[in-house]
Amino acid sequence: MNQRLTSLLLPLVVPALFLWGWETTAVRVANDIILPRLGDVLAVLTHPLEPIIGMGSLFSNVGISLARVLFGYLAAVAVAIPLGILMGYCAGAHRLLNNFLSLFRPIPPLAWTPLMLAWFGITSPATVFNMEIGPTYIFFNNLKFSMAFIIFIGGFFPVLTSSIQGVRSVRRVLIESSLVLGANRFDIFRKVILPAASPSILTGMRIGLGVAWMCLVSAEMLPGSMSGVGYLITHAYTVGRQDIVITGMVSIGVMGALMDQGFRLCERRMLFWRGMS
């Protein structure tokens, strides 16, 4: 019982010390611009539905950011998984594309910004499809192509790499034992390679979502952005509201961790067999 209590409390020790250190330092510094007090941040965090610095509520800004990340990320997944599977399965496709794609891999997503602005400007699905002005227009106009592309780049490579790896590392004996049972190429692909590669692909998707989420702030600093947590942070900075800056950071951290946990839960549910023979 005592041991259980200790193991329950142990993960809370460092956060508690951290918060205590923050609060005492903030009191000592007594300057909101350098370090706001814990209570100021909590005050913003605990009222997520109240409008702040003329930008709408924290809640709506997190929602917009989430929509943006999903927009770019889902596009990345939709391209990277089929491409990765193809490159893993077909040696010719791998030879054709691997070196070329490897050149793009090391480029930080943010480095694409000038090109993205030149190519896409402030276009969005709302402007491209000529939507009528209204709530739908406002929502879709938030999903700027330039931002989506930067998030796309962030999510793309982890998913691609892990899809290639997943397909390539399928054990030969699984393929060969299916061949002697009379499987054709399509059977092998659908019933052996895809399921065998799925743990690796799912891990890549989880890492990719993390990277995509991290690209958010840089994406939301692009012109045409008037909302989102990333923009909230930069805007709060310009008006000297560090408590809101920190609130934004906390929201990004919490949302990212929640999504990661959600993914892990899926992995454990679906892939209970992983690492077992």
Partner: protein, 255 residues
């Protein structure tokens, strides 16, 4: 014993190129001009030291590989790719880890276009045959090595191949389980007579199981002799002839 030849191995050689680390352009001869015949419904074992090409030979018979020269023929036709008529049981870990046992046994039946219902019935029938009816909904990682191999045998048998090839199927099992599995394999073989080609390291295992034994040597891999095993079944290791035959094979292999 019927004189009908199911599988014929005719002057088969298999030469592999060596990897770059061992010198470019060099090759290794895994099998050198090997010939023998597998008779209908017999239990044939292949023994020999590591590297004598016995697993290579089995892969050629299964159609997973093609000979460099010579030919492997099944009922008079060259074997060029796997067809489902010649089954192969691997040493270990060939079950799909994301499928339950019964779904694993269904796999081959799905490939052969059997309807779901029929596949399920047949899979359960073969699980029953290998004594795993109770574990049909278990996943491979929940089972012991011996149970997994029994499932792998059931999977190979369920598609009703004419020939069953087995590549050291009990090699990864502990000594006790191994003896039990030998007895069970014979029991299954008595029930579902078919041609079995069984590769093993263990001379004892070969003598216990087989009608005939192909003895191979290495560097290069080739057949030294094909010995008939004229011991009455069910066999017992107490039979002095059992020991004598084992001895003579050991001598052939120069131990």
């Amino acid at each position: 014993m019927s004189a009908k030849h199911t599988l014929t191995i005719e002057a088969v050689s298999k030469v592999f190129p060596l990897g770059r680390a061992n010198g470019q352009g060099k090759t290794v001869t895994a099998l050198d001009c090997t010939s023998f015949k597998v008779l209908d419904n017999e239990f044939l074992s292949i023994v020999g030291p590591s590297g004598c090409g016995k697993s290579t030979l089995l892969r050629l018979m299964a159609g997973l590989d093609t000979p460099t020269t010579g030919q492997v023929a099944y009922q008079g036709q060259a074997v060029q790719k796997p067809t489902g008529r010649i089954g192969l049981v691997f040493q270990d870990y060939s079950l799909l880890p994301w499928r339950t046992l019964v779904r694993n046994i269904e796999l081959g039946l799905e490939f052969q276009g059997t309807t779901r219902r029929q596949a399920r019935d047949k899979a359960l029938e073969y699980l029953e045959l290998v004594g795993l009816a109770q574990s049909s909904d278990a996943f491979p990682h929940e089972l012991s090595g011996g149970m997994r191999q029994r499932a792998a045998i059931a999977r190979a048998l369920a598609v009703e191949p004419d020939v069953l090839l087995m590549d050291e199927p009990f090699g990864a099992l502990d000594a006790h389980t191994r003896l039990l599995m030998q007895r069970e394999l014979l029991a299954i073989w008595e029930k579902r007579r078919k041609t079995v080609v069984f590769v093993t390291h263990s001379i004892d295992e070969a003598v216990y199981l087989s009608d005939r034994i192909v003895v191979m040597e290495k560097d290069p891999g080739r057949v030294i002799e094909v010995l008939p095993v004229d011991l009455p079944r069910p066999r017992t290791r107490k039979n002095p002839d059992f020991g004598r035959l084992t001895e003579s094979i050991l001598e052939l292999l120069k131990y």
